[in-house]
């Protein structure tokens, strides 16, 4: 079965085709939502952001130049909107998040369990990365974006993409070590 390409859908959306918009939304909204949620860490905010993202698509479909994949375009709009939402977030909320990020990692029952389950520990550490590191890890591992695509989404040179990913992974190892799991790297 042949499915309509994202580029064709964008062409139809540019002409005001509401059904094409529904198809594009159905196809991409979960991935965009998860990308945004990992950045803003709030369900309601993430939902607001994704409806804004797709509204931008509705308005700007006619100017989509096709230089990148539609999913890459969506994620770059989503990133911009998520960062704007983070900037609007009240200071108190940010302080709370900061405190959570630097909490004492003594061996509470959760951490003790994590030591037994390396996968669970890794997932915990993935949530503790900075926004900058979280987004690059997600883009590469979950959203399957190439070096070039990540550079386009984040707006940094390709060489910086590689080094940022390297340092994000290094930070991940350090966080694991704090939880008693030494990977022998870096």
């Amino acid at each position: 079965m042949q499915t309509t390409s994202d580029e064709v859908l964008i062409g139809r959306i540019a002409n005001g085709d509401r059904l094409a918009m529904q198809v594009l939304f159905a196809r991409h909204h979960v991935a965009v939502y998860r990308f945004v949620l990992r950045m803003v860490r709030n369900d309601a905010t993430a939902e607001d952001v994704i409806s804004d993202v797709f509204l931008d698509v509705w308005r700007q479909a006619g100017s989509f130049a096709g230089r990148s994949a539609v999913s890459t375009w969506l994620l770059s709009i989503a990133r911009f909107k998520a960062l704007s939402a983070l900037r609007r977030r009240p200071e108190a909320e940010l302080d709370e998040e900061m405190a959570e990020a630097i909490e004492d990692h003594a061996d509470d029952p959760e951490v003790a369990l994590a030591k037994k389950d390396k996968g669970a520990a890794l997932r915990q550490c993935l949530t503790k990365l900075s926004t900058e590191h979280r987004e690059i890890v997600d883009l590469v591992y979950y959203h399957e974006k190439s070096v070039e695509e990540v550079a386009a989404i984040v707006g940094i040179p390709e060489a910086t993409v590689k080094t940022r990913m390297f340092y994000a992974r290094k930070k991940l190892s350090e966080l694991l070590k704090e939880r008693g799991i030494d990977r022998g790297w870096p």
């Binding site: 064709v8 540019a14 002409n15 939502y33 949620l37 939902e47 409806s51 509204l55 979950y142 399957e144």
Partner: protein, 223 residues
């Protein structure tokens, strides 16, 4: 380090996440695979990358999906937007995109062959015109009579098969061009480059400029 020097290992190590995700190009993929086969320490680190990949997917998959509220909010906003009139170029480009997307690989292969033949024919005809060897009846494309589009300056363009609709649309808009006819056999479109007739030197200059665009596979002046 036994087999790969430090610098090479650093370069390769930076690529491991993309290798695990399957997003490297063929050349880099082969570089990484050769290095992994020759360097056990690098292979050990690659296993860490694969663990990270698996757990990142696991983590994201547990995040759930947005509620129907997100879609309702979106379409409420869309409904509140002013109605828009479809742009002619966008309609045309969408149709071109859908036409190419619907072709099977075999059909595309035959089309490419037909296009190649058309180019040879076109080149011969252009050469004939340049040498002043005008055929008794004159030349016109089978599906696009020379007078299509009214007065103005015209060219014939065949777009690159891999050029998508949005890229072609962008090319037409940027250069203020309008498709007035086609596609004829071989995928040639008759395109207006100016609303008034231009001296042949000016049209030649426009052709030279347009043929540098990556979406253009073939371009020639049309009478």
């Amino acid at each position: 380090m036994n087999t790969v020097n430090e610098r090479q290992r650093d370069d390769i190590e930076e690529l491991l996440p993309w290798h695990a995700a399957g997003t490297l190009d063929h050349r880099d993929m082969q570089r990484v695979e050769s290095a992994l086969a020759a360097d056990p320490e690098l292979a050990r680190r690659y296993e860490m990358v694969r663990e990270e990949l698996a757990q990142t997917i696991h983590l994201n998959e547990t995040l759930g999906a947005p509620s129907p509220r997100a879609m309702a909010a979106l379409f409420a906003k869309i409904d509140a937007e002013p109605a828009r009139r479809p742009r002619l170029s966008a309609v045309l480009m969408a149709r071109i995109g859908e036409f190419f997307a619907a072709l099977s690989p075999r059909t595309l292969a035959w089309s490419a062959t037909a296009a190649a033949l058309a180019i040879v024919l076109q080149a011969g005809l252009i050469a004939g015109v340049l040498l002043g060897e005008k055929s008794p009846s004159g030349y016109e494309t089978a599906s696009a009579p020379a007078n299509v589009g009214g007065p103005g300056a015209y060219v014939l363009i065949r777009f690159q098969p891999q050029a998508n609709a949005a890229a072609i649309d962008h090319f037409l808009e940027t250069n203020k061009l309008s498709i007035v006819g086609g596609p004829s056999a071989g995928g040639l479109y008759r395109v207006r480059v100016a609303a008034v007739k231009l001296p042949s030197d000016d049209v030649d200059r426009i052709v030279r400029t347009l043929q540098t665009d990556k979406v253009v596979a073939f371009i020639a002046v049309s009478e």
